[in-house]
């Protein structure tokens, strides 16, 4: 072990030589047959994708299909989730499906004289059928040629090994156990081998690659599935456009295969947002600044409020109320349309500058959500006039932000704002992924949703849905959980024709004190659970840190999802009624967000969930989570512990029209009963943090848009 680490450290030390000037980032939009950024075929390189790129790669050669989603989390770190199908790998299944995760880290940028260097772990969290680790260097020569050389372990050390670091058991189905767990003792151990190759861009659209592979496909060979005869692989790649890449390749002198790679980058909208331009700021005539005749005229006051309302509503914002005095105006709005809270503030202040008499010098805008005043932004009108066409962040420095409760004197909602009834009818999708018998099943449903906003934070939300078509009802895998069946029975809920009550909750949101928010909810929270829930959140407007606590009393619902309740006694044990968590939320720089939730989960297990995500100002979110509880891997079952990916795609990014709506979901490699939380609508953190300072500041350029 010591020898192994010694060698790795020596390698790293050798590679981390002082960085020369003129660093270059080796980036590529091409991915290899494992779906990770690489100009080679089966082997990795030190290349990274452009920051924020999301790629979906489908690679196929006879009997072997790999589907990989890779996200370039930072310019130097990427993560991949892969779902493969191999024909006849085991007599148990016609097609053996397997899930795996990769992580790749750039250790050193390429310079004029030194190559870029990366380290990677392939299938580090899965059954291990694809597991391998590598340290790899890539150097670009001229504009078109890149050369790569590296050393690999695991699969990548299985051909012509030149040495070994300790021992490493070969892959076997017996050795998998529950799978899905870390195998720290195996990383960078066992046989090592060298690999390498070249990629050459013949034109901007066409490139060629050749490589020497260190992967002998030992296990596939043993099972008689695939014989990797020759170590040489070749590929021709065609970039149809920035987002679509095709590749034809030959591997191991045996097979010809095809790769389709679809890429997108959240930072580059599919359609640029097109909305009406803002009204220009109106600059006052200095001679009229002390004209106060209007302030004593009640009719003028009413006319001003009604003009403000008309123009603010024209922007798509909700005008809640206003207080106007001779020198100060305070407008209260709700932003249901702009992704950027800064844009909502900018639009409101521009209108204020056009509508309000010249004597009004100070503008306050309070943004509320669901009747809850959250943040008050203050700017002097003089600064607004002065900075309209100056460098954008000067206005940010001129603005001040306060908790609306701490600020005090927030305008009362005008009489006709509440109650507010909204409804919608829309198609919705329920899906099940990664079932060994059918990897993707889905039902299309029609969902009717109604929201009744009483004001003062009182909300009544309901949703009813009916199944239209789909194949979720075909799932008939028996539940084999050793824990109370808190989630593994979800299939029985999912496929119901309905009408099902998807949600029916009464919620009270409250401002308990400055920086402190509260929520109480009762009703049918989600498909499986009803109950009572209480939450308290501490989140100052200018703090990156928030702390919360939530306590729930839950009741399992009948599978028909009407009003009835089911017994908490299941073959795996009794579901406890009480669960809850304490949470910490931290906004890192550049949109990275880290959250921890620690407490008691639905099955009564105790532990913590770690979430890490990247949130873009335009509404995209991509993240991963893992939950570790006091349930052992054996008790948990397949996957060993709960983990998965979550994402949100904003519709405005796709269609280019301002809307806050989006599609979000969670993808788990396997759904088990350990580490599961109840889904409670209107949780506080997202509602409260959205209009707070960090979000406003990060998209401040939109203030002037």
């Amino acid at each position: 072990m010591i020898r192994r680490f010694g060698l790795i450290l020596t390698l790293l030390a050798a590679l981390m030589l002082p960085t020369f000037a003129n660093e270059r980032s080796l980036t590529t939009t091409v991915t290899n047959s494992f779906g990770v950024p690489s100009g080679l075929i089966d082997m990795p390189t030190a290349e990274m994708a452009p920051d924020g790129q999301l790629s979906i790669n489908v690679s196929h050669f006879s009997g072997y299909t790999r589907n990989t989603a890779t996200f370039q989390l930072t310019p130097w770190l990427s993560g991949s989730f892969r779902y493969i199908g191999i024909d006849d790998l085991t007599p148990l299944f016609d097609i053996y499906y397997d899930r795996s995760f990769d992580i790749r880290l750039r250790l050193m940028e390429e310079t004029d004289y030194l190559p870029g260097v990366a380290i990677g772990l392939q299938d580090f969290l899965g059954t291990g059928v694809l597991s391998g680790e590598y340290i790899v260097a890539t150097k670009q020569f001229g504009e078109r040629l890149r050369a790569t050389g590296g050393v690999g372990w695991g699969r990548l050390g299985s051909r012509n090994s030149f040495g070994s670091l300790g021992s490493r058991p070969g892959f076997s189905f017996e050795g998998v156990g529950t799978g899905g767990n870390f195998r720290f003792s195996e990383y960078f151990s066992g046989d090592m081998a060298l690999f390498g190759g070249f990629s050459y861009d013949a034109t901007d659209k066409i490139s060629f690659s050749a490589e020497y592979s260190s992967d002998a496909y030992e296990f596939e060979n043993q099972q008689g599935v695939f014989d990797a005869d020759s170590p040489f692989n070749f590929a021709a790649t065609y970039k149809a456009n920035d987002n679509l890449i095709f590749r034809l390749f030959s591997v191991y002198g045996q097979e010809v295969g095809l790769t389709v790679n679809v890429t997108l980058n959240p930072r580059q909208p599919a359609t640029e947002t097109q909305g009406p331009a803002p009204l220009p700021v109106a600059v006052r005539d200095p001679a009229r600044i002390n004209d106060l005749g209007w302030s004593t005229n009640p009719i003028e006051q009413i006319a001003l409020s009604s003009q403000l309302e008309k123009f603010i509503e024209q922007e798509g914002l909700t005008y809640v109320g206003a207080d106007i005095t001779d020198r100060t105006a305070h407008v209260r709005i709700e932003n249901g349309i702009f992704q950027s809270e800064a844009q909502a503030l900018g639009r409101t202040m521009r209108i204020m500058s056009r509508m309000l008499p010249p004597s009004v010098e100070t503008f306050h805008v309070t943004v509320e959500s669901n009747g809850l005043p959250l943040m008050t932004t203050t700017m002097s009108r003089t600064d607004l006039e002065r900075l309209e066409y100056e460098k954008e962040d000067l206005a940010l420095q001129a603005a001040s932000f306060s908790d609306s409760i701490r600020f005090g004197d927030v305008p009362e909602p005008k009489a006709d704002v509440y109650p507010n009834f909204t409804w919608s009818v829309s198609p919705t999708l329920r899906f099940s992924a990664f079932d060994p018998e059918n990897p993707f099943r889905a039902d299309l449903r029609i969902k009717a949703r109604a929201n009744y906003d009483f004001g003062q934070g009182w909300l009544l939300n309901g949703a009813v849905s009916v199944r239209v078509l789909g194949n979720l009802g075909e799932i008939d895998r028996p539940v084999n959980s050793q824990l109370p069946f808190v989630r593994t029975t979800i299939a029985a809920y999912n496929y119901r024709f309905g009408p099902t009550i998807d949600q029916l909750t009464l919620t009270k949101l409250a401002r308990i004190a400055p920086d402190v928010y509260g929520r109480a909810s009762i009703g049918y929270f989600e498909l499986m659970y009803a109950g009572v829930s209480g939450e308290v959140l501490w989140k100052p407007v200018d703090s990156r840190l928030a702390l919360g606590v939530e306590l729930n009393y839950v009741q399992l619902r009948e599978q028909d999802q009407r009003f009835g309740f089911a017994s908490h006694t299941t073959p795996g044990g009794t579901i406890p009624h009480v669960n809850g968590h304490v949470s910490a939320y931290y906004e890192l720089n550049n949109g990275y967000q880290a959250n921890v939730h620690a407490g008691r989960y639905l099955a009564g297990d105790w532990g913590a969930t770690f979430e890490f995500s990247r949130e873009f100002n335009n509404g995209w979110q991509i993240g991963a989570f893992a939950t570790f509880t006091d349930v052992s891997a054996e008790q948990f079952g397949e996957g060993s512990f709960d983990k998965g990916l979550f994402f949100r795609i904003p519709f405005s990014w796709i269609i280019g029209t301002e809307t806050k709506r989006g599609y979000s979901n969670i993808i788990r490699p396997v759904q088990r009963d350990g580490g599961q939380r109840v889904i409670v609508p209107n949780r506080l953190y997202d509602i409260v943090s959205e209009p707070h300072r960090a979000n406003v500041a990060s998209s401040w350029g939109k203030f002037w848009k």
Binding site: I56, V58, N67, Y83, N265, P266, R267, Q268, P269, E272, Q274, G275, P276, A277, P278, P280, A282, V283, G316, T318, G336, I337, S340, E385, R386, E388, Y389, E390, K391, E392, D393, F421, T422, W423, S424, V425, S426, P427, L429, P439, F440, A442, L444, G591, F616, N617, N618, I649, F651, I654, I655, T659, K660, R661, Y663, S699, W700, G701, K702, K705
Partner: protein
């Protein structure tokens, strides 16, 4: 999930947006979507029009229908097919906000002492700029090397700066046809270079330093703007 599944999912998502209906006007109205699709199809199928002729006709009409004191200008962005006669709608210090004459469209062009300083409501707007040094040379009809900065919003709503160094040079004497009659002007070229782009702006400046006509680089999507003072 296979590619087929992924594409199906995207198609379903699109369907889910399109097939929605709601009374909530802060949510997306499916009608907006169909309008967007219809507009993009009609734009693609529209026959090419002679923009110069349209602008000339519109300019004549605007000049005849407005007061002789009202400033008017015309603008063309060839790369995005925008052409309009402009009227002043607001002033903020040295900045003038222009919008299309005869239309309530909010799209606007902002000039500072005659040079385009910002756009609003166009594609990939120029959000702001630092052009005082260029303007100083151009309006005083002097030569020199000066910095020039243009700012845009990227797809993640972050301001990105394009910093240029510009060489301003005098050209030939020309005559500009204004509504009030021909006006003598001098060509001023501003050749700007950054790490990954270069362009040449051209200004026709009269003796008082007023920019009468120009071809100015505005941004990677909007390309060059051709702007003329009509009055």
């Amino acid at each position: 999930m296979t590619l087929k599944h992924s594409l199906s999912l995207f198609a379903l998502l699109g369907l889910m947006v399109l097939a929605s209906c709601t009374n909530d006007d802060t949510r997306l109205d499916p009608k907006q979507l169909t309008t967007i699709v219809r507009e993009s199809i009609s734009q693609r199928n529209a026959p090419p029009r002679d923009k110069d002729a349209i602008i000339e006709a519109a300019s004549r009409e605007a000049l005849s229908l407005t007061s002789p004191e009202d400033p008017l200008a015309s603008i063309q962005f060839d790369s995005v097919g925008i052409a309009a006669v402009l009227r002043e709608i607001e002033k903020n210090g040295q900045h003038t906000v222009w919008a299309a004459w005869g239309s309530s469209d909010r799209k606007s062009i902002v000039t500072k002492n005659g040079m385009i300083a910002a756009t609003r409501g166009l594609r990939k707007d120029l959000m702001s700029s630092e052009a005082d040094a260029v303007l100083d040379l151009v309006r005083n009809r002097k030569e020199g090397n000066v910095p020039y900065t243009l700012r845009y919003l990227d797809g993640d709503f972050v301001i990105i700066e394009a910093k240029y160094t510009c060489t301003v040079e005098r050209g030939y004497d020309k005559t500009v046809a204004l509504a009030t009659g021909p006006a003598p002007a001098l060509q001023m070229f501003s050749s700007c270079v950054s790490a990954n782009r270069q362009f040449v702006d051209l200004f026709l400046v009269d003796r008082s330093g007023r920019i009468l006509e120009m071809r100015q680089w505005v941004g990677p999507v909007l390309g060059f703007a051709y702007m003329s003072q009509l009055r």
